[in-house]
């Protein structure tokens, strides 16, 4: 059941490729279609982003001034400042022309350009979530190979059991439990944040790593099951193949059969998965970043939603979507390179 929910490899349109002129044209069309599709998706995202966040109930001016005495004149001044007093069509037009110039406007709540804010927050998110994708992929794939090769064994059952249990755990809950145990009771790690105040120079690196452990563990724990399960099932498929039987019949050692023959072929579906997840890297992990107060894009998005800080959430939404679209495109383009069977 878990497998069916996972992304699968693109269906090869032509199993065999004939290298002739029509083949070149076909390949050209394949890449063109993929690229065009991505551009259409991106444009759709830009259009919906504007309207999507205007449906969210909530008045930015009221939220921002909440609990403070403000007169009607002040509210009107803020509305003018935010451009919310203009007709919707006009707002949309300036949004659209702005986006095409990569200008997402000024954030309501920070009074700074959205692109600048994104620039500040990009690196913490890429560091945390990027590392978590790599670690969980490495861990998941490695365990997946072990589990498949010894499928049905106690180790297999325990590993898949643990992985699937962790996968069904809500990340914010796991994060809080880790904070309670390892930060507050045992005092091994800081409860939150990315850096301690007043740490300078090279000492910032161990300090950063120290702060990163708990959020990283949380992120890895809840996702590595994906890699484990897809690797396990795809390797199990390969293990019944004729070429494996041949390899064994040649008298190759078990390790060689696994490493040289089975795993490389079983790796293919995981490529798509890794790229899809890399696309989500910039999206961060909204909940985990919020629980650990990690100053990344996910946390920024969360803070923007509660206002709603329209220019900020629009800009982030486009960025997140563009990253996913781009990574999917790369996976699509890369797949034929890795697997000759699906070459157009």
């Amino acid at each position: 059941m878990a497998d069916s929910a996972l992304p699968t490899a693109p269906v090869p349109q032509l199993a065999q490729s004939v290298r002739d002129r029509s083949g070149v044209r076909r390949r050209f069309r394949y890449y063109g279609e993929k690229l065009g599709g991505s551009l259409v998706s991106l444009f759709a995202v830009i259009l919906t982003s504007f309207f999507l966040f205007r449906i969210i109930p909530g008045d930015p001016v009221r939220t921002m001034t909440h609990g403070r005495p403000v007169s009607i004149e002040q509210q009107e001044q803020l509305r003018r400042e935010f451009g919310l007093d203009r007709p919707l069509a006009e707002q949309f037009w300036s949004y659209l022309t702005g986006v095409l110039r990569l200008d997402f406007g000024d954030s309501f709540q920070f009074n700074r350009p959205v692109t600048e804010l994104i620039g500040d927050r990009l690196w913490p998110t890429v560091l945390l979530v990027g590392t978590s994708v790599l670690v969980s992929a490495a861990l998941g794939l490695w365990l997946g190979v072990r589990c498949a090769w010894n499928h049905g064994s106690l180790g297999d059952r325990v590993n898949t059991g643990v992985a699937l249990t962790l996968w069904s755990v809500p990340s914010f809950w796991l994060g809080l439990i880790l904070i309670v145990i390892f930060a507050s009771e045992l005092g091994w790690f800081p409860t939150s944040g990315m850096e301690s105040t007043g740490v300078e120079g090279w000492e910032r690196i161990p300090d950063l790593a120290h702060h990163m452990v708990l959020p990283l563990v949380t992120l890895v724990a809840v996702v590595y099951a994906q890699y484990l399960m897809i690797m396990r099932s795809s390797l199990l498929d390969e293990m019944g193949s004729d070429y494996i039987v041949t390899a064994r019949a040649k008298g190759l050692r078990d390790v060689i059969v696994r490493r040289r023959h089975a795993v490389p072929n079983a790796l293919l579906p995981t490529v798509t998965l890794i790229f899809v997840n890399l696309g989500f890297v910039v999206f961060g992990a909204v909940l985990v970043e919020t629980i650990f107060s990690w100053p990344g894009l996910g946390q920024l998005f969360y803070s923007g939603l509660s206002v709603p800080d329209l220019p900020l959430v629009q800009g982030l939404f486009i960025l997140f979507s563009a990253a996913v679209i781009l990574m999917n495109l790369i996976a699509d383009l890369l797949y034929p390179v890795l697997d000759p069977r699906v070459r157009p």
Binding site: R79, P206, Q299
Partner: protein
Amino acid sequence: MATSASRARRFAAGLAAAGLTLSGLAAAGLPAATAATDDAGSGDDAEPTSLTIAVAQEVDSLSPFIAVRLITTNMHRWMYDFLTNYDPETGETIPALAESWDTSDDGLTWTYHIREDATWTDGEPVTAEDVAWTFTTMMTDPAAAEANGNFVENFASVTATDEYTVEIVLDEPQVTMLALDVPILPEHIWSQVSDFGAFNNDTDFPIVGSGPFILTDYQPNVSITLEANPDYWRGAPKFDQLILRYIDDPDAQVEALRSGEVDFVFGLTPAQYEALQNEEDITVNAAQGKRFQAITLNPGARLQDGTPFGDGHPALQDPVVREALVHTIDRDAIYEVAYGGLGEANGGYIPSRYDTYHWEPSEDEEIGFDIDAANRLLDEAGYAPGGDGIRVGPDGRPLSFRFNVHGDNPQYVQAAEMMAEWAREAGIELVVEPVSEVGSLLDEGTYDILTTGWNVNPDPNYVLSINLCSGLPTELGGPYLSDAYYCNEEYDRLYAEQLSELDVDARAEIVKEMQRVLYEDNIFVVWGYADALEAYRSDVIAEMTPQPDPGGNYYGQDGYWSWWSAVPVGEEDDTAGGSGSDDGDDSGSNTGLIVGIAAAAVVVLALVLLLLRRRGTTADDRE
């Protein structure tokens, strides 16, 4: 085939290697970093003392002209002096930058005498010119009026008549002239700013101010550092540093307090408060609330010209139905159950901590918890019970009301569920529906009952003004102040009267009368005041002045008393008479304040006598 397989393998191997390296790095970093923090922890006495507060709200801007969020306006109180301040004990206006003030007989001209010993943190003196420049800029540049423009709307002119005298001329008499909560800015720095709408005051650190703390560092969403101003005229704060640290999640804030990473947390839920109550080295504080909790009953949303809109239940326009509904509310039970006993049930609009202006119904006036009375009222008014026990109005519509509650507030939700049960006994159905925000329902008038709550300032003017007829929108979708579509001519008349009443006691009488009118209309129904729940590390902070003192809060004060007066553990001996006994501590922190207060001679005399007596007893105890 072979090449692609080996490529894939290399890819996988590289991936695994990268992953392992990084996880190794993380693991290797752990002991080193722990060691580093240990070193820092066991530092010698020369280490600066710091008080760290956990915060979550984003900084919108550090410019007092445009900052509207609570966190920034709070910080501006610590960074910049205002003309006046509020006494932590009595809540009355006391001198700050203005040492004294006079009013003309017609109440239109106010003259403030600026103290001569106040300096900006760059060494320049604070003068009347700075005050005049700050107000005049707000009056002339709309971008500079964004945050505090409401204070100067009625100003005709502000002029510095000499270096230490400012004269403000008003268009109409205005009672809030001693509650001008506006940070005064240094003209010699701010006059160089070209666009106040775009300037965030976050380019040059330390930020030049005149308050007890100097903002020296701002890392967005990581931390804000303020340092003690050693030259502050009221005296330097005792902690060297005040640090605001960003922790978004409320539960993570509590854990950070337990682990000692932060020293102060505020805005706790009753559950968090109870969990922290028995922790070692942590002191909890349930302060008298600044905020009231209430529901508003839709009396028929309408524009200022009377055009109705929205789809509020027509039965709520009948005062009898509203009164009956209010009779079904057991305020005591709400605070006992939903707030865990941490709050005060009270129907008055201005919270009881402001005892000058607080009003509460007498026994005769009270519309208290009385289901029989509710049933009687509804029977008499012809709302007969229908088939399912829900009463039906003369128009055939059952008394079934939508009750929209802030879904992120568990106390509101619980109280609403309780209210639904009580109302049911009187044949009224309340359909409780938690929502993410109630603002849009209010905008469109598409509600029957909403939860609400307001922070009330020492001067009640603003919170009273939201219920004026002029607070209604002038056009659909236009701005408005109203929180309940309340409009009552008598209330408006009283409001205008109190606005020009310069005698505090006479004004208080009018303000109380306004609250009585509001109470009787049963549109804005106050439940009471939940305590403000806070906690701090008692192994870091030895003592702080609450507001009101005693029984008040530390965070979000009208003033800077808590952080300014906070004493680090280990430095208690430096303060006068602070040798452990509570009486001694009180006299110590109060003497500093009393010096600045130009209070009536009788009060001073009484306090001096009291102090002498306390000193005597503590001295006896010591010997």
